[in-house]
């Protein structure tokens, strides 16, 4: 069996909050193959967003092993982790988190500012990402001039423009109507099947989870159940 794209062994995350020690993740182990679309479900406080942030490299575990694409990111320094994140991870937020003063084009271009690409090369990449999310005609619009679904598609374009291996999405459809949510899920499905992206998605919505290849259920910081839909698709 080929090595997993993400290997998690005995991962624990704890932090102090006042006098109390909070442990949102406890001794968790998990394997995710390359190109899998994985959904994480669970009640609030179950540790799914904490797990997502650890996999995305914006947080560091207290103990355990976290290997992504053969690299143990749990042992990287903050600076090395930041650099790794800029190359390998695309993050999609529930509330899109676009920079309001920048146009759709400029928002999507942001991750490319960290590369050595020329302006012309960046333009080609951004335009390709805009085409992929069907927003080529909205390139110069600011976030306030876009609908929620369009904003999320811009956020997805921003997450994929630098061609990362891994996409992490924190409730990407949580703030959208069902039609827009369906479009976003079809887009994520396409990124997984057609472009080989490994996608980890946190969701509360079983319909959204049904779009994934596999769904993991977390509770109190531990995996309790694994489900696999018979057919994929939102």
């Amino acid at each position: 069996m080929a090595a997993s794209f993400i290997q998690i062994r005995n991962l624990t995350k704890s932090f102090k909050k006042g006098p109390n020690l909070i442990t949102p993740l406890q001794d968790l182990s998990l394997d995710v193959p390359r190109g899998e679309f994985l959904a994480l479900m669970g009640p609030s406080g179950s540790g799914k967003t904490t797990l997502l942030n650890l996999i995305a490299g914006i947080d560091s575990p207290t103990s355990g092993e976290l290997v992504v694409s053969d690299r143990d990111i749990a042992r990287l320094s903050r600076a090395a982790l930041t650099k790794w994140r800029s190359r390998h991870v695309g993050y999609i937020f529930q509330l899109y988190h676009l920079v309001p003063i920048l146009s759709a084009f400029e928002n999507i271009e942001l991750p490319l500012l960290l590369t050595s690409l020329t302006r012309a090369e960046r333009r080609v990449r951004v335009e390709a990402a805009l085409d992929l999310v069907h927003l080529a005609d909205r390139a110069q619009h600011r976030p306030t001039e876009l609908s929620g679904g369009q904003e999320q598609r811009v956020a997805i374009a921003r997450a994929i423009v630098h061609d990362p291996d891994l996409l992490v999405a924190d409730e990407p459809t949580g703030d959208l109507d069902s039609e827009s949510a369906g479009a976003i899920l079809r887009l994520l499905r396409k990124l997984s099947t057609d472009h080989g992206k490994t996608i980890i998605m946190v969701t509360h919505d079983p319909k959204a989870a049904a779009a994934a290849d596999r769904t993991l259920h977390l509770e109190k910081g531990q995996l309790i159940e694994q489900t696999q839909p018979a057919t994929s698709g939102p």
């Binding site: 930041t82 994140r85 003063i101 920048l102 960290l114 921003r158």
Partner: protein
């Protein structure tokens, strides 16, 4: 460069906030540049440099040009003193002997000697010949002409003296740009001093190192005469006679420092507010992979741009203002032209840049250190 452009977008797309901040910075830097211009102008006319070779011979215990009356026949004696390269008798008439913002100074000189004594005088309008041909003609300094709106062919009256403008002159010596040169006999008669009497002799010494010894020799020569003399370098005279003005302008240094402090506080406050209002945006950039250094640089660039754009506007406005207004401070017949200078302009821009940088250091540190996850979850 990419971060600089991003910082510029942040500034240009928050127009009102950026405009108000830059307007405050511009006002502070205008004041700073105004003070620096005065300080620089004062230093130019009072600090004796190594190549200064001009002495001024006055009547001892003079207060004003009106009380310095020396016989013109001292000239040949002065010229014979060892170390004296050339000398010229000058009659001065001023409209106001005390400190004044609008002093008018006539300098009466022997017409045949003016160009030889002062070869760097450049006639920028009118002609020198026209000045030679009419006894009541005047060559006026370009600052004086600008301030009074005078051009060749115009007549004007001051201190009871009517003259015709024969030409406009420009000189490397700031004093010359603020006076009206007339022919000595004309001024002696028009000012009722009488022929044969002058206010001062300007003496050029062949070696700057001999200034003091030549000055002493001149004063020694006329010590027992009816009109004893007091000889000093021209700039030392200005520093001495305009002591109160010097002190007053020296005090303005504190105003300049106050303006700098105000700009520092303003930019620091503006950048800190920007950082506080942009917690989530900063966290997004961090999530995308912007390092702490890049976040810090982005904030610093914004502070520097605010300082530089606002400061540059203020500095340029101050330079343009002083260039246009041609202010002159006069005291006892000597004038201090408040003239903007390239070094003052550059100093203003460097100060604005440094203030922007200094003011953004702490906000940049705060932004770079903010925790990503807590910031993303911030309301």
């Amino acid at each position: 460069m990419k971060l600089l452009l991003l910082a510029l977008k942040n500034i240009t797309r928050h127009r009102l906030r950026s405009f108000l901040t830059m307007a405050g910075v511009a006002a502070g830097m205008f004041l700073f540049t105004a003070v620096e211009t005065m300080q620089h102008s004062l230093a130019t006319v009072t600090k004796i440099s190594a190549d200064d070779t001009t002495l001024v011979v006055y009547r001892e215990n003079r207060f004003c040009p009106a009380t310095s009356r020396l016989p013109e026949y001292y000239l040949p004696t002065i010229r014979k003193i060892p170390g004296v390269e050339s000398a010229i008798p000058i009659q001065i008439a001023v409209n106001n002997c005390g400190a004044s913002l609008d002093v008018i100074t006539f300098r009466g000189v022997p017409p045949e000697n003016l160009q030889r004594y002062n070869p760097d005088l450049e006639v920028v309008a009118g002609s020198f010949d026209a000045w030679l041909q009419r006894s009541d003609a005047a060559l006026i300094g370009e600052n004086f002409a600008r301030r009074r709106g005078l051009k060749p062919g115009d007549t004007f009256e001051a201190v009871g003296i009517n003259v015709l403008v024969a030409g406009i002159i420009r000189s490397g010596n700031a004093q010359d740009n603020n006076v009206a040169y007339v022919q000595l006999p004309f001024l002696q008669q028009a000012s009722k001093v009488g022929l044969g009497t002058v206010t001062q002799f300007n003496v050029k010494v062949d070696d700057a190192a001999r200034l003091e010894s030549v000055a002493s020799a001149i004063d020694e020569t006329f010590k027992s005469d009816a009109q004893p003399t007091h000889t000093r370098p021209e700039k030392a005279f200005f520093a001495e006679t305009a002591k109160q003005m010097v002190e007053l302008i020296g005090f303005t240094r504190w105003l300049g420092l106050g303006a700098v402090a105000a700009v520092l506080g303003l930019v620091a406050n503006a950048v800190l507010l920007i950082v506080r209002g942009r917690v989530k945006e900063t966290a997004i950039l961090q999530t995308l992979g912007f390092s702490r250094l890049m976040i810090g640089l982005l904030v610093s660039f914004e502070g520097i741009l605010l300082g530089l754009l606002g400061g540059g506007t203020g500095v340029a406005a101050a330079v343009a203002f002083f260039q246009w207004q041609s202010f002159t401070l006069g005291n006892e017949g000597l004038t201090l032209a408040i003239t903007p200078d390239l070094t003052v302009l550059l100093k203003g821009l460097v100060v604005a840049l440094l203030l922007g940088l200094l003011a953004s250091l702490y906000p940049a540190y705060r932004a770079a250190r903010q925790p990503v996850i807590e910031s993303l979850n911030a309301a």
